[in-house]
Every structure is written in structure tokens, then in C-alpha cells.
């Protein structure tokens, strides 16, 4: 929790200090009001009515000023609490944005979502609710303790015992509860994950009639969460009644014991009454603190979880090299091997490629042979294990990440668009794109016709996961988003898979006439899609088993031959 304190801004610190001052002022005022009572009572004995009126007036003025002080405190505390939460959310979100794929999967998306909202909400609530109590309660307690210690020893001892019991109780409860709160936040992650899974899998779940199973899975976590919550709360529930009990019992014991002490003439009645008042003060302040202690454990756990995110070292970071002057889109792989961060086997081995500017290269190979992995190394979604990759002659690790990725138009295998209008999604490709640019990109991507038929046109709102357009339409929109960027290098990861042959063919032929100077990398499964590439790389089990043109490979690469013949008969191939 303390680690998060550094995210307070200067203004927030100042506000905090002002607030503490005001809180101190407020406690003084609060105490001053009953203080006037003494004057009044004295005046009663002397029968001075005007003094009583005056005291009444002072009390009134104090009461009014108290209102203003509290309102200012309240203003400050609500700003500081919510402002701090806002800063934390901003920082956490910003941090996650910097994460590479590895860190994201380390935390899991669902957990990152919980941390960004639910956990921060917990911290905020505790801060705003407890700031004041955290200041007033110790203030009250300390002054009362000091006064008590000056008076009777035996009675002080009793108070100290009560205090000790309390502190022991608080410590025990907190120790029991903190690990449980870790579980609670973990379960919240799971609740989030399961519900999210259910939402993304709506159709499959319905198709398989497995609603009950999903609900049962959810129910199990829900039960565990509820159970842990009950345990935690019932432990924390002990605090308040115990405090209350100790509080009253203490004053009872004090007068009781006091009565014997008075009988033995060790103390007088006045000491007993003032003493019992002060001891009540101490315990009252602990009572207020108990409400804080109920909230703090959960906030601690949450703060810790937020901190975990903020402290994570991002592995893939911008290099410091100077951007090369020639930006023609050449790509070189030299002796590249790669294993996923948590996998032990190499997924790619010894890859050497020399892609010249403006060339079109295709990658083909069986499922899981490493095609996606290979191209994901170019925009540095992952770093190579050994060897190096050069873009425009410079190691990708030396690039500023932003500049490197600016050179690349990447179309992922799994189409991902944002909810919102088509226009907004295209602007993601190039924020400066004009209306014409958009239609041009859509035209090349063969999506123009379909967007034109929509009533809203470019303003058609895509739903989350773009479920309100067809698979092929979705894919073409993501292609248009890449094209509108006009990058040096275009990467298609099996991005024609949802297109019919005709569209695929038209798309490629438009592309090839337009993109003479763009280096293009295509991962494909269809021979038809890739046969006209300048060079085709055949991957098998992470190794290159063939490289050359379609004709060359047909002659000398057995794997390629098998792939080719699985799609089209010999005669058709020969005709082509």
C-alpha cells in the first residue's frame, strides 16, 4: 500500500496536508463546543444570565464554523480519493499498454481487467473512507492516553489491559483475514474470466447446449467466493461488537473498582468520573479505527495486486538505435531460433531469409509449423532467442518500437476489430486518412461494395467482436485498415482464409498492381493465393524445408508437392 503512495501528485500532497490541518482544527472545534458547557454550569451557580447567553453565542458560532470546515475537508477528501484512483487507473492502464504478449498472458486478461477497476475501487474506497478516521482517531487516543497516564495507576492498568486485548484482537483478525482476501480477489478474477468466457462463447455454448455446464462452473467459483466472503466478514464482524463491549465494560469496571478505591480513600469521586470519560474516549477512537481496520486488509491485498502490475518489467522495450536513412522494406533473418518464453522447445530453428525491398514472399506449411510465430517476430511481438532480424538493415531490437511498427501493416490471423464505426476502425490504421483514402483502401480490400450497401456506410457500428458482419467482411475490413496505413511492409497472416476464391483473387491482383514497392509477406494455405509470389518458403516443424518459386518448388520440394496436390489435380496445376 505504501508503495502506491508515490503516485500521489504534488497537488494531492498539498491538498492532503491542508486537509490534515483542517481535520485537526475540526477536532478542536468539536471539543470546544462541550467545553463551553463548563462555563455555562459555573454561570448557573452564579446566576449570570448574560454569560450563559454569551456562551450560547460562542457555541453557535463554533457550530457554524464547524460545518464549513467539514465541508472543505469533505471537498478535499473526495477530490484526493477519486483523483488518486484516477491516477492509479491511468498508470495501470498505461503500464498494461506497454506490456508485451508474454506479460499479458502472465497475468491473464481477466485478471488485468479486475486489477484495473475492482482493485483500484477497493483502494479508493478505503482511502476516502478512512483518511479522516485515520487522522482523528489516533489524535483523540493519544491525548486521552496522556491524560490517563497522569492519573491513577490501578485504573490506568485496567485501561491498558483493555487496550491490549483490543490490539491483540485487531492483529489476530487482520492476520487471519489478509490471506483470505487474496483468495477473494483471485476468485473475482475467476468470476470475471468465466463470465467473459461465457460471453465470448455464446454461440458455441448454445450450439452445444452446455449452458448448464457453464453455469455450474461459474457456480462453483461463485460458491467459493461467497464462502470465503462469509468467513472473512464474520471474522471482521468480531471487531465492532468487541470494541463496543470492551468500551462499556471498561467504564463499568472503572466505576466498580473505583468505588472500592474511593472507600479506601485512595482516590476521590472526581478522578473516577473524569477517568472513565477519558477511557471511553480512547476506546471510542479505537472503535472508529476498527471500521478502518475492517477495510484495510482488502485494500492492502488490492494495492499489492495493482503494484504487481506497476512493478512488472516490460521485456520488450524500444532500442536506442538511429532509424536507418533508407526505408525500403528489406527484411533479413539471420540464424534465427525462437522458443516461447515458457516453452522449452524451439518453435523456430535456424531461419535464414533475405527479403529484398518490394518483393512478395509467401510462407506455407502445415498447421503449427511456426508460420505465425515467424512473422510475429518482425514487429517484435516476441524477441528472438538467438540470431537476429534486420529491417532496413537495422536489428529490430535497436529500433524505437513505434517507428518499427509504423513501417509494418500487420493483419493478424484472428481478425480483431474494435467496436464502433467502420470509419473509426479505418482511422486506427491512419489517423490522417481522408474519406477518399478510406474508400480507396476499402476498394483494394474488396470491401467497398459491401460497405456501400450499408445504410450507414462508413458509420456502420460494429458490435464487440464484430459479430454483426460476416467472417469474410470482417477480414476485409482488417485488410483495409492495414492498407490505409500505406506501410513499407505488409504482413498477411492467413488473412484470405475467410474469403472466397474470387474475392481472394481479385484482392491479390489489385494489390500486386498497387504495391510494387511494398514488401509483402503472405502466410497462406491455398496454393492459388501464393503461387505468384517472388519466393515461397516452405516451413515444416519450425525449419525451412524448401525455398524458391512455385515452379522450382513443384520440381524439387516434396512437402510442397504434397501440399499442392492435396488441393488441385496434376492436370489443373499443369494448366495453370
Amino acid at each position: 500500500m505504501l508503495k502506491l503512495l508515490k503516485y500521489f501528485s504534488l497537488a494531492q500532497w498539498i491538498g492532503l496536508i491542508v486537509m490534515l490541518g483542517l481535520i485537526f482544527l475540526q477536532t478542536q472545534i468539536t471539543m470546544a463546543i462541550p467545553g463551553q458547557l463548563g462555563t455555562i454550569i459555573n454561570a448557573v451557580t452564579d446566576g449570570q444570565r448574560d454569560v450563559i447567553w454569551k456562551s450560547g453565542g460562542i457555541m453557535f458560532a463554533l457550530a457554524i464554523s464547524e460545518v464549513f470546515v467539514i465541508i472543505i475537508i469533505n471537498y478535499l477528501s473526495s477530490h484526493i480519493g477519486s483523483g488518486f484512483a484516477k491516477t492509479l487507473r491511468h498508470k495501470t492502464f498505461e503500464k498494461v499498454q506497454q506490456f508485451s504478449m508474454d506479460e499479458i498472458s502472465g497475468f491473464s486478461t481477466a485478471s488485468l481487467i479486475t486489477r484495473c477497476t475492482n482493485d483500484i475501487q477497493n483502494v479508493q474506497m478505503t482511502i476516502t473512507m478512512s483518511l479522516r478516521m485515520l487522522v482523528t482517531a489516533p489524535l483523540m487516543a493519544i491525548s486521552a492516553i496522556l491524560k490517563i497516564l497522569q492519573s491513577d495507576k490501578q485504573l490506568s492498568l485496567i485501561t491498558m489491559i483493555a487496550l491490549f486485548v483490543l490490539v491483540a484482537l485487531i492483529i489476530t483478525c487482520v492476520t487471519i483475514v489478509v490471506p483470505k482476501f487474496k483468495h477473494i480477489q483471485k476468485y473475482t478474477d475467476d468470476i470475471n474470466m468465466l463470465a467473459r468466457e461465457n460471453l465470448t462463447g455464446l454461440r458455441v455454448i448454445r450450439a452445444f447446449n452446455t449452458e448448464d455446464e457453464e453455469e455450474e462452473k461459474f457456480d462453483n467459483t461463485n460458491k467459493s467466493l461467497t464462502h470465503t466472503q462469509k468467513v472473512v466478514e464474520n471474522v471482521m464482524n468480531l471487531l465492532f461488537p468487541t470494541m463496543n463491549f470492551l468500551n462499556k465494560t471498561l467504564s463499568l469496571v472503572i466505576v466498580w473498582v473505583g468505588s472500592y478505591l474511593i472507600a479506601r480513600n485512595t482516590i476521590d469521586i472526581g478522578t473516577v468520573t473524569t477517568f472513565s470519560q477519558y477511557s471511553v474516549h480512547i476506546l471510542m477512537s479505537f472503535l472508529t479505527l476498527s471500521m478502518v481496520f475492517v477495510m484495510i486488509p482488502r485494500a492492502l491485498v488490492s494495492a499489492n495486486r495493482i503494484n504487481e502490475v506497476l512493478q512488472t518489467q516490460v521485456k520488450i522495450r524500444s532500442g536506442t538505435g538511429k532509424t536507418p536513412a533508407v526505408a525500403d522494406g528489406s527484411i533479413t533473418f539471420s540464424d534465427v531460433s525462437f522458443a516461447y518464453p515458457h516453452g522449452d522447445e524451439n518453435v523456430l530453428e535456424n531461419i535464414n531469409l533475405d527479403i529484398k525491398p518490394g518483393e512478395t514472399w509467401a510462407f506455407i506449411g502445415s498447421t503449427g509449423s511456426g508460420k505465425s510465430t515467424l512473422i510475429n517476430l518482425i514487429p517484435r511481438f516476441f524477441d528472438v532467442s538467438t540470431g537476429k532480424i534486420l529491417v532496413d538493415g537495422m536489428d529490430v531490437r535497436d529500433y524505437n518500437l513505434k517507428e518499427l511498427r509504423n513501417k509494418i501493416g500487420y493483419i493478424s490471423q484472428k481478425t480483431l476489430l474494435f467496436s464502433g464505426s467502420i470509419r473509426e476502425n479505418l482511422l486506427d490504421g491512419n489517423p490522417d486518412a481522408t474519406e477518399e483514402d478510406m474508400w480507396e483502401a476499402l476498394r483494394i480490400a474488396q470491401a467497398k461494395d459491401f460497405v456501400e450497401t450499408l445504410d450507414e456506410g462508413l458509420d456502420y457500428n460494429l458490435s464487440q467482436g464484430s459479430t454483426n458482419v460476416s467472417g469474410g467482411q470482417k477480414q476485409r475490413l482488417s485488410i483495409a485498415r492495414a492498407l490505409i496505413k500505406k506501410p513499407e511492409i505488409l504482413i498477411f497472416d492467413d488473412s484470405f482464409s475467410a474469403l472466397d476464391f474470387k474475392t481472394d483473387q481479385e484482392l491479390r491482383s489489385t494489390l500486386s498492381t498497387l504495391l510494387d514497392s511494398t514488401t509483402t509477406i503472405i502466410v497462406g494455405q491455398r496454393i492459388g493465393t501464393i503461387m505468384n509470389s517472388d519466393r515461397i518458403v516452405v516451413l515444416d516443424d519450425g525449419k525451412i524445408v524448401g525455398m524458391g518459386t512455385h515452379k522450382e518448388l513443384l520440381k524439387n520440394c516434396p512437402v510442397y508437392q504434397q501440399i499442392a496436390y492435396s488441393q488441385i489435380s496434376k492436370e489443373e496445376l499443369d494448366n495453370a
Binding site: L37, V44, R206, Q229, I269, Y340, G343, Q464
Partner: protein, 593 residues
């Protein structure tokens, strides 16, 4: 303008309704709540009595010292013991009522979560066209959490405060009536303040919960699309997008807190005014010898006692407002209209043969814009039917209609002569094993994913995967069948597709639907699987959608779809020789322009 969907914030909805909704849930536990309330009330009364007894002891000490006589220890001890027993009872009662209310409110939150999770599966798919997942998730986590955190404490504190107020009032009445009336004025005045402030602040609590939902939605979607954010350097855009919502949340958060916090000092002021008035009145009474000075002191202390619970109420009211705002969002979701009920539908098919008939089907996602116009086709049992056509032709739509994901506008679809609208949705869906265009796997082992919803032994499972030629691929993965798939599945797209195919095969349904099931799978593997599938589905009707025409060459019937209409149908050879749209499509894969 903010991006994407904007939440319809703060539509005026009445407070009473969401309160009633919540009461419905509390009603199930009415005896427990009643017991808890009794315990609180009795406990608090005992507590007050104990306070009184302690006061009596002090009085005894005081008078003894004033009169210079010996202290009556019998009385002191008796009072002390009674007070102690009261305090202990109060302690037990107090804790018990807390426990009861905790259990009740946790059970209610459990129910709320459960109902939301069930609701998700009962809403029509079209509902999700306008909702962000993150916002729904926020309801199930953040909003429910708020309910959990506030419900029990609200009930406990309310009753506790009320009893304390009443006991304090009773105590005061025994001392002086006019002064008690002065204190009494606090109550309507306080209520007035509550009403005024709530009217103002409630709005911000509502905005706050909605804004939290929006923020959660943004976060969820942006994190899901992390790859794209990285690839397109979208960080500045997503950041500013996020900051907009974050700011909105911040504004609502501080306002709701500030405005609801105003109540506290106002209550304090009211209490202080009563206190001052009583002090003055008491002082003058004392001068006029109407009251003893000791009584005045007791009275004034009880005015303090009276103010304490009153100011508690101000903090309770903030909890209540937050609770209501959160609860309203939960109830909104639970109240969304579901798919039509179908309890009256009883039709089933024994011994499915597998004839499927589309009879003049008309359908549009927007009823005014038909996508399928008057579609009719007849499939005889055991046929392998391929549906081809350009993207967006309506192939997936057709399948969705068959699976009853959406309901047609007119016409009928019949399986073995029985309309699928006479059957329950689950009955219809049981007829088909399905592989969707979108690969979806859940976190868990590969085995759990494959046996999804079915009880079959490991041996059988392996047998089926071997038959389907997928066993080899699975075994090559680290951990084989026991490999844990993560949320963002650490396997290749093609491997995912193979798993979804295996999953459908395990279902062993009478009919099969494959929508672009192998689009990311390499063609050699695809060929193997195809053969296997042909073997496994002998005699079963199957529907195949594929763009790779190699996938569908050997279909018994090819339906060529274009703009929601069948433009051609026949076999591969037949359609090729006809030289129409299909042969065009087929030949385009070899064309070199």
C-alpha cells in the same frame, strides 16, 4: 466525440422501483432478517439499560460522597453484575445479528451473481450487438461487490441507530419534556436534509456506476485487442479514449462523494443546534430551580447520544445510495427481455433420419432488410451438403437459422418433417454437432475442452481423435491431452480449429454443421480429416461451408448462394459443366492476372 458506444447514463428511473427489487431478494430471508432486527433492537435496549445502570453507580458514588456516608456496596455490586450481564448479552446478540445479516447479504449477492450468469445464456444473441462485454462484467463484479459490501451494514446500522435514537429519546423524556421536544425537532429537519441531498447526489452515484461500467468495457476490449494496439501503435488513441472515460468516472466519483458527504456536517449542525438550545434551556431552568444541575448534565449527555446515531444515518445514506445505484444496474440487466419462453413446446424426433427442409424462409437481422429472401431447399437424409457463395452471401446466417440462434420472419424449417419451431431450442441444437467459424475454447485442459458437455472415457476420447486423425496433433503438443489451454490459448490458430472439430465429433450428434471449420488448417491435414470425417459421418446429414473448394468437391449437393438466394445447385461435376457462377468461382483460383 467519444468513440464507440456511449452508455445511456442517468435515464431517470425511480428509486422506489430498485428498492422494491432489492426487497424482493430480502424477502426470501425475511425470518432471518427479522431475527437479526430483534437481536439488534433487544441488544441495543440492553446496552442503553447498562449505560443507565453504570450511571446509577456513579450517582451512588456521588451521593455517598456528597452525604459523606459509606458507599452501598450491595447496590453497586448488584448493579454492576446486572449491567455486566446486559453487556454480555448485548455482545452476543450484536455479533449474532451481524453474522446473520452477513450470511443473508452474502447469499443475496451469491444469488445475484448466479442470476446474472444464467441470464447471459438466456438473452437473445441480438442483445449483444449493442452491449459491451466489459460493461456486463462490471455488473457481475463491481456492482455486485458494492451490494455485498453495503447491504448487511446498511440493515445493521439502520436498526441500531433507530433503536439508539429511540432509547435516547425515552431516557430524555423521563427528565424533561419541553427540552425533549426541542431535540425531537431534529428528526424532521434531518429527514428534510436527507431528502434534499439525496435528490442531488443520487444522480452522481448512478453516473458513477455507469461510468465504471464504461471504463471496464473500454479496458476489456482494448486488452483483448492488445495485438492490434501494438501493431498499429494505437496506444495514444486508446490512452486518450480511456482517459475520457476515466475522467468521467472521476468526476462522478468525487461529486457523489462530496454531495453525499455534505449531509454529515448538516446533521452535525442540526445536532449541535439542539445541543446548544438544550444547554441554554437547561441552564435557565437550573437558575430558575426547575431542574437540578445534575439532571441537566445527564440530559445534555443524552442529547449527544442522540446525535451520534443521527450522524450515523448520514453515512448510511451514502451507502444506501451507492447500493441503489449498483443494484439498479444489476436489475436492469436481469430485467432485459429474454428469448421467448418455450415451455409449451414438446415436439421431439425419435430416430433422427436427417432430412432438412427450408420452406420459403425469409429472414433479416433487421426485419426491414431481409438478407435471406424466400429460401427453399430440401436435403435428403445422409446427404453431404455444401453451401458456397461469395462472402456475405448469407451462409452463416442460414446455419444460424437452422440452429435457432435467430428466429425467421416467415416460412418454416423442418427436420424430418417436424418444424424446428415446434421443438425446444435445446432439442433442435441437440440434433446438430457444430463447428463455428469463430474458434472458441475455454481455459482448461484439452481433454476438458474436447469432452465438453459429454461424459466419455479417456479411452473413447482417444479413439475418436484417432479416427478423426487429430490424435497425432494433440499428442505432439506439450502435455498432450492434459495440456492446459490458457485464456489466450497458446496454440496455433489451425490447431485450435482442429480441436473444435474433434470437439464436435465427440458430440456424436445425428447431424453435423461445419462452418469454415478448416479455413486455417493446412490442406494436407485437411484432406486427412476430410476422409476421416466422410467415414465417420456416413449416413449422417452434414452441412459444410467452405471457401476452399477442394473441401467441398465431393459433396452430394452443392448449394450456391448469392445475396441470400440459391443461384445454382448440383454436384461439383454438374456445376462445373454448367459453366455458371460456381465454375467461375472455381476457376478463379487458377487465374493469373
Amino acid at each position: 466525440m467519444p468513440r464507440g458506444r456511449v452508455n445511456q447514463v442517468s435515464k431517470a428511473r425511480d428509486f422506489k422501483k430498485s428498492f422494491r427489487d432489492l426487497l424482493k431478494y430480502l424477502k426470501a430471508y425475511k425470518w432471518a432478517v427479522l431475527l437479526a432486527v430483534c437481536l439488534i433492537v433487544v441488544g441495543t435496549v440492553l446496552f442503553m439499560l447498562a449505560t443507565r445502570l453504570v450511571g446509577d453507580i456513579t450517582n451512588e458514588l456521588q451521593t455517598a460522597s456528597d452525604d459523606e456516608r459509606a458507599i452501598n456496596f450491595a447496590l453497586v455490586t448488584k448493579n454492576a453484575l446486572i449491567a455486566l450481564s446486559f453487556l454480555i448479552t448485548n455482545y452476543v446478540f450484536n455479533y449474532s445479528s451481524f453474522v446473520i445479516m452477513t450470511i443473508v447479504s452474502q447469499n443475496i449477492t451469491y444469488r445475484l451473481r448466479k442470476e446474472i450468469s444464467e441470464k447471459i445464456n438466456r438473452l437473445p444473441l441480438s442483445f449483444y450487438d449493442h452491449e459491451s462485454f466489459g460493461d456486463i462484467l462490471s455488473r457481475i463484479t463491481n456492482d455486485v461487490d458494492i451490494t455485498a459490501n453495503n447491504l448487511s451494514s446498511v440493515v445493521n446500522q439502520t436498526f441500531q441507530s433507530i433503536t439508539m435514537i429511540i432509547s435516547a429519546v425515552v431516557l430524555m423524556f423521563t427528565i424533561n419534556v419541553p427540552m425533549t421536544f426541542v431535540t425531537f425537532c431534529c428528526i424532521p429537519l434531518s429527514l428534510l436534509i436527507v431528502l434534499l441531498v439525496v435528490r442531488f447526489s443520487q444522480k452522481y452515484f448512478r453516473i458513477q456506476q455507469n461510468a465504471l461500467g464504461t471504463v471496464n468495457g473500454k479496458i476489456e476490449e482494448i486488452f483483448t485487442n492488445h495485438t492490434i494496439v501494438k501493431a498499429y501503435n494505437l496506444e495514444p488513441r486508446t490512452m486518450s479514449d480511456f482517459d475520457t472515460s476515466n475522467n468521467e468516472l472521476y468526476n462522478a466519483a468525487w461529486k457523489s462523494q462530496f454531495y453525499s458527504g455534505i449531509m454529515n456536517p448538516l446533521f452535525g449542525l442540526v445536532g449541535n443546534l439542539a445541543y446548544i438550545t438544550c444547554a441554554l434551556m437547561g441552564a435557565f431552568y437550573a437558575i430558575d430551580k426547575v431542574l437540578l444541575i445534575g439532571d441537566v448534565q445527564v440530559f445534555i449527555t443524552s442529547v449527544r447520544n442522540f446525535n451520534q446515531p443521527l450522524s450515523n444515518i448520514s453515512s448510511i445514506s451514502a451507502s444506501v445510495q451507492n447500493l441503489m445505484a449498483a443494484n439498479e444496474r444489476i436489475m436492469d440487466f436481469l430485467g432485459a427481455s429474454e428469448e421467448d419462453p418455450e415451455d409449451d413446446k414438446t415436439a421431439t424426433i425419435e430416430n433422427v433420419k436427417g432430412s432438412v427442409e427450408f420452406d420459403h424462409v425469409v429472414f433479416g437481422y433487421d426485419p426491414n432488410v431481409p438478407i435471406i429472401h424466400d429460401f427453399s431447399a430440401k436435403v435428403t437424409p445422409g446427404q453431404k451438403v455444401a453451401i458456397v457463395g461469395p462472402t456475405g452471401a448469407g451462409k452463416t446466417t442460414l446455419i444460424s437459422l437452422l440452429m435457432r440462434f435467430y428466429d425467421i420472419q416467415s416460412g418454416d424449417i423442418r427436420v424430418d418433417g417436424v418444424s424446428i419451431y415446434d421443438m425446444k431450442r435445446s432439442t433442435v441444437r441437440d440434433l446438430f454437432g457444430m463447428v463455428l467459424q469463430d474458434t472458441w475454447l475455454f481455459r482448461g485442459t484439452i481433454r476438458e475442452n474436447l469432452t465438453y458437455g459429454k461424459e466419455i472415457s479417456d479411452k473413447e476420447l482417444e479413439h475418436i481423435c484417432k479416427e478423426a486423425k487429430i490424435d497425432h496433433m494433440i499428442k505432439s503438443l506439450p502435455g498432450g491431452y492434459n495440456m492446459e489451454l490458457t485464456e489466450d490459448s497458446s496454440i496455433s490458430q489451425g490447431q485450435k480449429q482442429l480441436l473444435t472439430i474433434a470437439r464436435a465429433m465427440v458430440q456424436n450428434s445425428p447431424m453435423l454443421i461445419l462452418d469454415e471449420a478448416t479455413s486455417n488448417v493446412d490442406t494436407r491435414t485437411e484432406e486427412l480429416i476430410q476422409e476421416a470425417m466422410d467415414r465417420l459421418t456416413v449416413g449422417r446429414t452434414s452441412f459444410v461451408i467452405a471457401h476452399r473448394l477442394s473441401t467441398i468437391k465431393n459433396a452430394d449437393l452443392i448449394l450456391v448462394l448469392r445475396d441470400g438466394n440459391i443461384v445454382e445447385q448440383g454436384t461439383h461435376a454438374g456445376l462445373l459443366s454448367a459453366g455458371g457462377f460456381y465454375s467461375d468461382l472455381y476457376r478463379s483460383q487458377f487465374e493469373n492476372k
